[in-house]
């Protein structure tokens, strides 16, 4: 039953994703990409559990590595997106054109 549930969530999320992304203007495609990239770092949740529950040394090492790489993805992704978006500015006043 849980499995069916998860597939339900998957199907609706994919649909939602298509609807949301189709509305993003091409000007913002690079920040969209790095921002959504950061979201895919959600795998950090799995990494935290793996690192925190590792019963063997090797299991813990796998977990720590997973946490490290997922954190790079999340922190780097959000920061770089913010840096880019901060640069997008409207024309200050009524242009002279």
């Amino acid at each position: 039953m849980t499995t069916i549930f998860l597939f339900f969530i998957l199907a609706l999320s994919v649909f939602l994703g298509f609807e949301l992304i189709a509305k993003v203007p091409s000007t913002l495609h690079t920040p969209l990409m790095s921002g959504s990239n950061a979201i895919s770092g959600i795998t950090i949740v799995g990494a935290l559990i793996a690192a925190g529950t590792g019963q063997t040394a090797f299991g813990t090492i796998l977990g720590i590595l997973a946490v490290t790489f997922a954190t790079i993805n999340v922190v780097g992704g959000y920061l770089v997106t913010d840096r880019m978006l901060a640069m997008f500015k409207k024309k200050p006043s009524q242009g002279q054109s």
Partner: protein
């Protein structure tokens, strides 16, 4: 048990924040807030996960500190021109993380239901391909390895055999996961090799497609990891990213008038194409000073930037020139082709960095109808995206690709280093048109020369 419910409720909240964050990305005015909300969602997901009982924090903290230092440092210091390879790197680390999550899940418990085992295999496969694929893309984009497509005979057979091998080993593995650790490791290694092999035949200018696709994969890998640990927030977030990457991939392919299969397998640009009509003639060179006279008199100017602008780091110079032209009474617009640059929206970010307001940036479909009213079109470091052969020459390999119709403007100034062909290896008849003038030399130097002329 109540705690468990609280955690799940907070995950729902996170999912809402992710969706809202993406929704706010639909306008440059709200995008920054959207990104912030999305980050808040991530933070809540992390904190709530940490509150799950029985986690050993000392190892987690080590990984988080390491990752934060590396991530924050690179994000702060990367140059805007290097954004494509940066995104490839982050993408790769996300894929690797998903692979590691799948691995550690198997390592912790080797007897799992078949469904979990399949999910583990998928997170290994997709995560592995994302990791090495992104690493190769990073190498090509940053010039660490040749951006040329690397082709050899039987390439597709090798890749197919590899893929088939992974599927077969996966079958063997899922029949008896408990005693198949070596098989598991082999699958992981083969996935990593597959990632390298599928990206090496793809050339530099096709990277926008590859990056979009890898972006999608990193989401799908997170999704698979979500099925492994039966966690819905991973599935929601992973699916959102997966969908986003697929849409961008489609947009890029459409902008090149090629199918995804053609981009991935054809090694476009590896061979020199010869157009049968054989565009010949004299290209008309122009001096900086003559260009100045042209621009000085122009009332309406369109600038078409391409990857060459990024290479020459000329975004600030072009902004300064645009400013001068505006003060001179001309209307200046930037026309941006969807595949200009090395990733979707690359040019927009570069121009934004140079303080060009985003309402001055126009998409191809908005600028083409008014191109005939434009006095001067300046092409900077772009080639194939303004090649009229795409419109006129049916034998051209890029025939059918939508282009920016600069040749319809009064005069076209093409800033270019030499007469060399573009990435696609296609001759550009634009250079030989009567209304085209070639301004040879480094784009940045030419632009600075023009600025100096205006200031004289």
């Amino acid at each position: 048990m109540n705690f468990e419910i609280l955690i799940n409720f907070s995950y729902i909240f996170c999912a809402v924040l992710f969706a809202l964050g993406l929704k706010l990305m639909s306008s440059p005015e709200t995008a920054r807030r959207g990104n912030f909300l999305s980050a808040v969602g991530m933070l809540i997901a992390v904190i709530m996960t940490l509150l799950t009982h029985g986690l050993a924090y000392q190892w987690i903290i080590l990984g988080v500190i390491l990752g934060t230092i590396i991530g924050a440092f690179t994000a702060r210091t990367v140059a805007m021109t290097a954004m494509p390879e940066m995104v490839a790197l982050f993408n790769g680390s996300g894929g690797l993380a998903s692979l590691l999550v799948g691995w550690s899940a198997y390592h912790a418990q080797q007897t799992s239901p078949v469904f979990t085992i399949i999910s583990i295999l998928l997170s290994i496969l997709i995560g592995g391909v994302t990791f090495t694929g992104s690493a190769v893309a990073w190498g090509k984009l940053s010039g660490k390895i040749s951006a040329k497509p690397l082709l050899y005979t039987g390439q597709q057979i090798v890749n197919s055999v590899l893929m088939l091998g992974i599927v077969l080993l996966g079958l063997i593995f899922s029949l008896n996961p408990a005693s198949s650790y070596p098989v598991f490791v082999t699958i992981a290694m083969l996935s990593l090799i597959l990632g390298i092999l599928v990206v090496i035949p793809i050339g530099g200018a096709d990277m926008p497609v590859v990056i979009s696709l890898l972006n999608s994969y990193s989401g799908l890998a997170a999704c698979a990891a979500g099925f492994v640990i039966q966690n819905n927030i991973l599935i929601v977030a992973g699916a959102l990213v997966g969908a986003s990457g697929i849409i961008l991939t489609q947009i890029m392919c459409k902008a090149m008038n090629r199918s995804l299969a053609n981009v991935l397998f054809s090694g476009f640009g590896a061979v020199q194409h010869h157009s049968k009509s054989g565009v010949q003639g004299e290209a008309n060179p122009i001096s900086v000073q003559d260009t100045y006279y042209l621009l000085e008199a122009a009332r309406s100017v369109v600038v078409v930037p391409g990857y060459g602008l990024a290479v020459a780091q000329a975004q600030h110079a072009v902004r300064e020139l645009a400013q001068i032209l505006e003060n001179n009474g001309a209307e200046v617009r930037f026309a941006i082709h969807p595949v200009a640059g090395r990733m979707p929206g690359h040019m927009n970010v570069l121009l934004a960095e140079a303080n060009v307001p985003y309402d001055q940036l126009f998409e191809m479909d908005d600028i083409n109808p008014v191109m005939e009213t434009v006095d001067v079109a300046i092409v900077i470091g772009a080639n194939d995206v303004v090649n009229p052969a795409a419109r006129e020459d049916e034998s051209s390999p890029i025939y059918g690709m939508p282009i920016i119709d600069v040749d319809k403007a009064g005069t076209v100034i093409v800033m270019k280093r030499s007469m060399a062909t573009g990435f696609a290896g296609v001759e550009n008849p634009l250079f030989f048109k009567d209304n085209t003038r070639m301004l040879f030399g480094d784009a940045k130097a030419s632009l600075q020369g023009l600025i100096a002329e205006f200031k004289n």
